[in-house]
């Protein structure tokens, strides 16, 4: 029991640095994407099993909270991907780069790259959301 508590409160009681935060973010984004993916597989599968339900599902995706969620999802996937690549590169190709200076710098770069990659699709998606859900830019 004590270990579970430590597991949950450790992040506030231990002042980890970049590594700890990128690990948490990697884990949260990974699990977030997985949750979405599970749902997404099931709702898409309705096209074969219950085609009539599909439009209901899609309708939910079209609401603005879902649209915002997708914006976040895209960030999660980019961050998780870039960070996963960073880890895989250090692990598989160049273990000697696992040193403090590299770790700190590369964690920040990862965040930055994920952010830059995310911006264009995010702008597009937010624009679409504003058009469809809020009738801006002349609406649809």
């Amino acid at each position: 029991m004590a270990t579970i508590r430590t597991a949950l409160t450790g992040y506030t009681r231990y002042r980890g640095r970049e590594g700890q935060w990128s690990f948490l973010l990697h884990r949260i984004t990974g699990l977030g994407v997985l949750l979405f993916l599970g749902i997404h597989i099931l709702d898409t599968a309705t096209v074969f099993f219950y085609p009539s339900l599909y439009s209901h599902a899609i309708a939910i995706y079209r609401t603005w909270p879902a649209s915002l969620g997708e914006v976040v999802l895209v960030f999660c996937l980019f961050y998780h991907g870039v960070n996963g690549l960073r880890i895989a590169y250090f692990d598989m190709v160049s273990p000697k780069r696992w040193m403090i200076s590299f770790e700190r710098r590369s964690s920040l770069w990862t965040l930055l790259i994920a952010f830059i990659l995310w911006l264009p699709p995010a702008v597009l998606m937010i624009r679409t959301m504003l058009i469809f859900d809020f009738g801006m830019f002349g609406g649809a």
């Binding site: 270990t3 997985l34 597989i41 096209v47 074969f48 690549l85 895989a88 998606m125 679409t128 469809f132």
Partner: protein, 130 residues
Amino acid sequence: MSTSTIEVPEVPRRVKVPSNYETTAWRWMRYSGVLLIPLAWIHIVLQDAIVSAQNIDLNYVAMRWAILGWRIYDIFLLSFAFAHGMNGLRQVLMDYFSTDSARRTFAWVLFVLWLAITGIGATAIIGGVR
């Protein structure tokens, strides 16, 4: 006493380590992850940003799956992404449940879930829009 510099022969050291599930899983996370970069990124940028849910409906899905390439693409995406994610979840749970019985239990649950959902997804992709 010796002042010469006889190099000690460098025999490359190798050992045989029987490979086990965890080792394979670790490797899998990295290889599948790298593959997922094009697969997942293209998918999500295309569907969510460029096409967007606003323009997706049964017809769109039917049109897309009319092209065999997209079906193969989606099959790949499904198998890699979901297996990667489910194994990730299994690893996360292993951090929090350390008894063998708990680990066995959730490993089975996750396996069944993975099989079922992958099966459903694959059926849909192969079966197409009805």
